[in-house]
Symmetry: D3
């Protein structure tokens, strides 16, 4: 059976041969920058926006990708096309980019010094919709752990990076409440920020509200929500809010590339709004479906776990 | 030529075959816990203390190593012995342990769910003394970047973890001042903490001072310094200090497993003390040499970069 | 049947007649200062220390008790004696003092202005040991909620006050993990502080450690532990620590007047030490038993819930 | 003479019989949620908005009122009607709602456990306008004490709660400056927040400015001001400001249900603007008078203290 | 040769006779408030705005200037006229106002007590354009030191004051990177604030962005930029941003009275945008030139250092 | 009549000729470092310690004094001797050192660039004891303003510097409470720090307590107190404390060079201890008197204000 291809260190190799050395900065330092885009009906969605954001993260992290922005986008498309052909027709794919500063040769026992060569990798995987189906059947449950989000004075949350130990620790606490709960970290001042894998939004009196943009990753799905709000004449505000506002919201959402927008129906065990997807959610998804030419939620709800 | 062995996922494999999958949590999340010990004259130094600290880090991170603490120590010793035999007689080795929560199977395209199997690896490398020789010839230069250390409210600095993007960012600033400068991060309150790879100590009026222990990694070399101070009747205090105290210190040091203790002679371009290794340094290293049966600094100063 | 007496507003009244007006500052502002002592074998324990602390809290809160410190202690003893006579021989009592700035007459519809007369109340209740029996059978489970302890810049935690909404909120989160879990609040910097009703201590390498004294209530039981440590030659330190230290402690305790000292065996679902009362606990309680002339833990374990 | 009625624990009782037990959570924990509305010419003003806010506070505090929101509003109206009939024709009333988690039965000596029954109370009192007359004759004097407002990470200021010890402490400092001064607490970052009983607004260059809404209680009077500004074409902004901005404001106000809007003419002894009610104040109150059908300020200035 | 005149302590004196006593609060406390305006083609620019801001700073600092606001403006104009006549035709001048609380007579050995007489001084100097020419030839390089801006809880950055030790310390670090670099201080939360002598702005997607106005001095040049943006239909936003946003900005500027607006092309060694003045800069300066009737940048680039 | 001499810019000049240029960094930036010593019975006290601290402050501020440390001490002694001869026999003197980075030549209209020459000044003044007499007659009253001490992340409080605007602002608030009150600033966390001119100490249960040394200037008088405590067997601790601890202290003091140690008897209007100098104060001053050979308090109490 054919294997998907992975682009790594300048070459496309079968996935089973795509490895990272144990002395790569990706492993030793977690100093990795990443991004992730997906397909709808097989076509990449806002891939250019994802690649642009990836390059912004790279600039901040002082890691220079070995190929140009356009070449990067081209490789993404090629991999999606090649690897998609190996999948069932209805499958959708994610394409992941990541880059580390490169191998720490000294750790490998060879001579150090000189400039490092970044380790740049692009790979794909089929979106496991079945994992998120319960978000749409019951709504997600978010929990605020005692672990706080890392402040911008340390690492700016506006880059998508892989030094994510705090999220792992947060989940360790959150899963004590509910094994399927999603960690929603507060910042050091007690503001709601985001989850490990998504932006977090609330709706109050018909207005969609996202945290102040300087404390969170600027998600492409969040931008899509903002654009749809603008089209539909739904208010969209960016300002800090707290747990009180979530508890008293009419609706709440997770916004993220893999599953676009999921309703949140509980926080710390307290029901939000009516405890089910609300009318603003329906309007937003209707517009989203139109943009991508398929029923986003239906596709997820139709998924099943692999045998 | 024979290769060193690496212990990974339960097996000892030649180093060239020791890889980590691109969808391992070590790479995707940086949620990796680590530790590092070294040899003196080929014999492991305080290996038990390092393994104990590694297990404490694992408990905090809720990652359960697949083998017992004693088995871990045994594997370390075996690798050091086997791999040391491949090196020149005078070489010293580091042994590195790291563990991640395991592979994110979903990313790999296979079914998710179920518990993850941690990725546990132990490997060695010869200590590249030549990289640190200049610390002993000229003294290290520490620079305080604008990037702050991650607070314990996010990730406790007492664990040795590999979500180290903030250190990479710190170095990006610090190297603007001096390409060989070492980043010395302040915490959010402006206290001196530690460097990416070492504890930081100062000497004032004959007393060795280390930052309050709740803000820093409890280095085994730091513990060794404390013990030696106790033996020699040198005062040893643990309390917060700031850049003022470093500028006005009599001596300052980096304490770390690979090179034990190095003199720091400049901070932000300002000379510390006399600008050369001081009398307390000489006393501490004399005692250290006695403990390990060799001339620690001499060994480093005699090193040369590989051709 | 005879009723216990309550001292309120200068008179001793039957408990069923002891009320607070709905426009009292105790209810309108929560600006109440309190303290609580207990008996062992019917005799008050360190009652003078509790009364002294109560008067210190009053000074900070600028509320002047209407009777002298000595008169207050005398009333406590009288109530304990009178009310104790109504109880079963083996019962122990708590005596509670509280004072508010007094009634807000305006709220009552009468003329405001002039100085307020503090509302001062002393009452007793039999200690419900059966509620805490499980701490000694299984050990307590502490959970760190996202809610933080109020900083000293707002209200100093060194006073025992009844503006405790944050503890109520903390419990709302904590009980999602475990209905019997005890909230252990972190401060804004992420340090461990105390629980709603007790001090929190850990043991590491044979040394008992309590948080820095400026962040917590100075519990009389905590002082008793410190004194016993001093007698027995057990190290006792006061310094900040974090969740890492609790997870890696050998033992942990709750120290509080009603049940003296209880073993903590879990934090956020992670087992502490061996998961059962440890050897230092046994030594501390043996000394405590000697001080009070009875088996403290045995008395609690022998208790049963009322029918 | 007839007494006003108080609704408490499900019954309407004469005010002199409305008490709270000394072991109620309202007294023991201060874990009470509250709200307050008033009448104009005897008619309740925005009562529905107050009841809605009360229910939002309850949700946050996890206290479930024993009656529905609509029933609550109905009881408020009934009490206002009944109790108003006992007052002079020109009197106005406040209606107060408060709820605590209920009685801590253990403290009462009876068996604990089981769910608590909330203590829910609604009562009224005639508004003591004479207490606020000097605000309109001379302007209020606000003072910033060293005590800081409690941050949202501990208790969200958006709920109206009765754990108000910090306000009591703030007043203890503020009244050293001026016995009639009003405490204006800063937050931990030094931003102006609100007073114990009112929102605080400034006017600069014709624009009314209120602190960012996530740091303060969203007062119904503040909302009224915002609506009036919108009607009159006066700018209304919500953003953080500091003492500098108050000192250099053209006008400043206290906004609160009992007296609507009062001019502030001094801060920390420094005169604000011209030191008297300004032109924007006059416009706002003219519109307010129109809304409620009476001269709000005139009514207050005509009041006299009871004999 | 004729000397410029300086207004000090109520008199105009030749510059060589304008001194401050060593026991003046300006020297002993640095408790000085200041402002600075400039000429274009010899005519003062927005002098009234500068004088107004100076009086606002004075109010905050509780220092009462000995002459009225209008008299102050008149003296400024007189000095500019008189002193300008002594200069080459093409020279431009700055006029500086400063005021301290006055002389600490006790320090002088005479009797203390009584109210102090403020030391009020107005002086001018020719603008040394040659010092800033390189900003326009190469672009400015900003560096973020580890030193943080003083928070508003200590001294509000909205006043122009001369307690500027933190800026001196910041430059000590920044000049280690590049002797001509400009310190750009972050606040305690990691937000970009301003430089010692200018506001800092970025451009992203055609919108000019300035930090939230409560953290910075409200520069008159910043206001001018805002007004020009409004005229030209260029978006102008005030909100917090961080180093990430600067690194990924299209353009960045320093805005300040002496040289109006200078392009910033590097931050911490990383090139911003194209590394040269951008199209928005050109539009802003074209409008500025029109306002002042000369080529602002051309004038600076034509300057030469004095022999 | 003869004038005292002032050392300034390398020369000794009559005091009436000692000025600082209006464009000196001392005035423009407040970037001045200072120190102050005094005489007892005409003999300088711990002058060497003051000069050493001055040189440490200079190193931190990167200002290099133009003469050596020993030469500086020599000039101090010469001035004290010369100027003391002009005073009454019983007078005591202060000697003040200050240094700024020098004149900003550009502000003066001459060419900028090149290194600056520091402005170094040493002068004396007779100690105005009559100003502090009331501290010893009634005790000092300290008030905690809303203004916070500048954190070490901005300017380290361990240097004695003259960027003191925050103290001026603090006094503006404090004097509203009591015109003779002394501002006692809290830090951003709410800890007690120091006053503008002295260290602050409390006594509790016979132990003298000073704030943690990293948040305050290390006063020479504070060191003297610590030494005397050591001699007399009085406990001396350095740890953070808060307003609660001051209110409940047995005694409290101001420690400072000019008047050594003064009793504090009120904080924010609340009496401390017995409201008069306590027994520990008497012991400390007895030892101090012995050290300096005169009755320190008596000398102050005998002083009178000049006619």
């Amino acid at each position: 059976m054919m294997e998907p291809l992975v682009y790594i260190k300048g070459a496309k190799v079968p996935a089973s041969q795509a490895h990272v050395a144990i002395f790569d900065a990706a492993i030793v330092l977690g100093a990795t920058v990443t991004d992730l885009a997906r397909t709808f009906a097989g076509a990449p969605f806002r891939l250019g926006d994802h690649v642009d954001r990836f390059y912004r993260s790279c600039r901040y992290a002082r890691i220079t990708p070995p190929v140009s922005r356009d070449e990067t986008e081209r490789i993404c498309r090629e991999l999606l096309q090649h690897n998609g052909a190996l999948l069932a027709a209805e499958a959708e794919q994610a394409v992941v980019l990541f880059i580390s500063p490169g191998e720490l040769s000294v750790y490998a026992g060879s001579a150090g010094g000189g400039d490092m060569t970044p380790t740049f990798c692009i790979h794909t995987f089929p979106l496991p919709f079945y994992l998120w189906r319960h978000f749409f059947d019951e709504g997600a449950h978010v929990v605020t752990p005692s672990v706080r989000q890392i402040p911008a004075a340390c690492v700016d949350p506006k880059i998508k990076c892989r030094s994510r130990m705090h999220w792992w620790l947060a989940d360790g606490e959150t899963h004590q409440v509910d094994p399927r709960a999603v960690s929603l970290c507060l910042d050091l001042q007690g503001n709601v920020t985001e989850t490990a894998g998504s932006n977090f939004l609330i709706v109050r009196n018909g207005v969609v509200i996202s945290p102040a943009p300087d404390h969170i990753l600027r998600g492409i799905s969040l931008v899509t929500v903002a654009e749809i709000c603008d089209e539909l004449g739904i208010g969209f505000e960016e300002r800090n809010f707290q747990v009180y506002d979530v508890i008293n919201a009419d609706e709440a959402y997770l916004a993220t590339t893999p599953y676009c927008l999921a309703p949140v129906t509980k926080i710390n065990g307290v029901t939000i709004g009516e405890g089910r997807p609300g009318p603003v959610f329906a309007r937003l998804m209707a517009a989203w479906n139109e943009r991508v030419g398929l029923d986003v939620v239906g596709q997820i709800q139709a998924s099943t776990a692999p045998a």
